[in-house]
């Protein structure tokens, strides 16, 4: 089922931070992992991913470093302490929101 983009855009930051919470990743890896985990629901375009990542780096939520893997230099992103705090906050916020939505929808049943 095609999902309304505006539904996804609000939570993309949280999802990216969650991925980086597990391990450091480079851009392509993030898109691929997101697609795989969400069973193709989250098809994030690279054109929106990089501005988002660079913006998060500016805010010191993530930091980056270059690493050479099999002859290729890749830019890895990793979560900072501030990023981890933001993720906790966003996760809490999301759970509350999801519960509220589920509760409201359940009323009609």
């Amino acid at each position: 089922m095609e999902i309304d983009k505006s539904l996804i855009s609000g939570s993309v930051t949280m999802l990216l931070l969650k991925l980086l919470d597990e391990r450091d990743m480079y851009g392509y890896e993030m898109i691929a992992t997101l697609r795989e985990r969400s069973q193709n629901v989250f098809e994030l375009k690279a054109g929106s991913l990089y501005p988002l990542l660079h913006g998060l780096e500016d805010k010191n939520v993530v930091t980056s470093y270059e690493k050479e893997v099999i002859g290729k230099t890749r830019k890895y992103y990793s979560l900072t302490k501030e990023g981890r705090n933001l993720l906790n906050h966003k996760e809490k916020e999301w759970k509350e929101y999801a519960k509220a939505v589920t509760d409201v929808l359940a009323l009609g049943v």
Binding site: Y26, G27, Y28, A32, K45, A46, G47, S48, Y50, P51, H54, G55, E57, D58, N60, T63, S64, Y65, E66, K67, E68, K72, T73, R74, K75
Partner: protein, 449 residues
């Protein structure tokens, strides 16, 4: 792919950011292309599909442009503006009442502040990474230049060595502190090395340390050595060198304390010091003013007699020389009270904290080191001068940054502030790694800690 990249990069106005954005995006397209080929597409199809999957290049480019553009740290500008204004206004009112000093001194102070602000703007516009790129050249040429100037235009006024050209006098110790940002560049160039690289970094310290010693300015020597040692230790801590960290910290810092102590002990034993130097050492150790330091005695009396707010001592300028330079805080205390002096000092400390914060949040490793270096110069100079202003002469590294009427310290302060502004300006423009040398070392990549 080239067309996609070209359109995207055209949206980013700051050219310096192009290279690392291009690298990252091109890497992404190549990865996606490889994936597509493994799914059975031809090379051409795989490329086309990969580029299509990237989305709109204009939209992405505009979004990236918003992030990667020169920035101005208005906070620092505001604090520097406030300090400059405070310095001039306070001096004006003190000098207006003074019977000893001529009011012409205020014109000098305004002149140096204006020259400093101009220098700050020029340095801000300048790409600080060039200091890192040409650190050694700057260090060598700068040192030679200062030696020649000091030889031809050296002046000693009130036991302070200056380089004087016409009416402009700049104390030589300020040039020594100007070495700090250059040293950050030298450390950066040696990254990835082992013990030899660390030894080279220690050897480079000798230039400013010996420079301060020959002025002679023992306080400045200890101050600059401390700052450079902290920077070197930070570099080791961050893993810039491939050496065991613990061994370095124990070895370096114990030598840094033991060697000078041994040197002092040996010169005392061998009677190499003049009578006044022995007296000075005794004074440093005891902290009690002696006849040699009658000024400190006067300073302590002034502080004792000062009010919390308001004027206490009628005319301090008679009792303390260079009341607008080395003893500016004492003068402010006498004329406006302890709280006023504390407020001025507090603004300066706030500036230091702000500089450290900016440096910490830097992406570029050279920027982090250089920013901390500038902050440390302000901190060491402020603390040493603060102590002198209450009559404790432990270190005397020069006058109070921004506040004292002294030309050299004023210019140094504004130049360092300009470097910090330049670091912030290029925060999102320069890549994390500034390529510096032609050797393989610049290929050495590191994980940011």
């Amino acid at each position: 792919m080239e067309k996609y990249l070209q359109i995207l990069l055209e949206q980013i106005r700051c050219k310096k950011a192009h290279e690392f954005v291009r690298q990252e995006i091109a890497g992404h397209i190549t990865d996606q292309m490889g994936e597509n080929i493994s799914e059975g597409m031809t090379e051409q199809e795989a490329l086309e599909e990969a580029v299509k999957g990237m989305g709109d290049p204009v939209e992405a480019g505009i979004a990236l442009d918003r992030i990667h553009r020169p920035r101005m740290e208005w906070g620092i500008v505001a604090v520097v503006g406030l300090i400059s204004a405070l310095s001039i206004v306070l001096q004006y009112f003190i000098l207006k009442d003074s019977t000893v000093y001529q009011t012409g001194l205020i014109i000098k102070s305004i002149f140096y502040s204006a020259l400093g602000l101009l220098a700050m703007i020029v340095v801000y516009r300048f790409d600080y990474s060039l200091i890192g790129k040409y650190a050694k050249q700057i260090a060598v040429i700068g040192t030679l230049g200062i030696l020649i100037l000091a030889y031809n235009n050296g002046r000693v006024i009130n036991a302070v060595s200056y380089i004087g050209i016409r009416f402009i006098n700049i104390s030589i110790i300020t040039f020594v502190f100007l070495f700090v940002p250059v040293y950050a560049g030298i450390l950066y160039q040696q990254r990835g090395g082992k013990y030899l690289a660390v030894l080279k970094c220690i050897a480079w310290m000798l230039i400013p340390v010996f420079g301060a010693m020959t002025i002679p300015n023992v306080g400045g020597m200890i101050g600059v050595f401390l700052i450079l040692s902290v920077l070197l230790s930070m570099a080791v801590y961050k893993g810039w060198f491939q050496i065991p960290k613990r061994k370095f910290f124990v070895g370096f810092w114990s030598l840094a304390v033991i060697l000078p102590a041994l040197a002092v002990w040996a010169t005392l034993k061998l009677n190499l010091l003049a009578e006044y130097q022995v007296e000075r050492l005794r004074y440093y150790v005891s902290g009690m003013p002696s006849e040699v330091y009658s000024v400190d005695k006067a300073v302590r009396q002034i502080i004792k007699g000062s009010k919390l707010l308001g004027k206490a001592v009628p005319d301090i300028t008679e009792q303390v020389p260079s009341a607008m330079n080395s003893y500016i805080l004492t003068t402010i205390t006498a004329y406006y009270g302890v709280l006023a002096a504390a407020a001025v000092f507090g603004v300066l400390l706030y500036l230091v904290v702000r500089i450290f914060k900016i440096s910490k949040r830097q992406g570029n490793q050279l920027g982090i080191m250089m920013g901390y270096g500038c902050g440390l110069v302000f901190l060491v100079m402020a603390v040493s001068n603060g102590m002198i202003s209450i009559g404790i002469r432990m270190l005397s590294c020069g006058d109070l940054p921004f506040i004292s009427a002294s030309g050299g310290e004023k210019l140094l302060s504004y130049i360092l502030a300009g470097i910090v502004l330049s670091i912030y300006r290029y925060k999102n423009i320069l890549p994390k790694e500034t390529k510096i040398q032609k050797s393989n070392r610049h290929l050495w990549k590191m994980k940011v800690q």
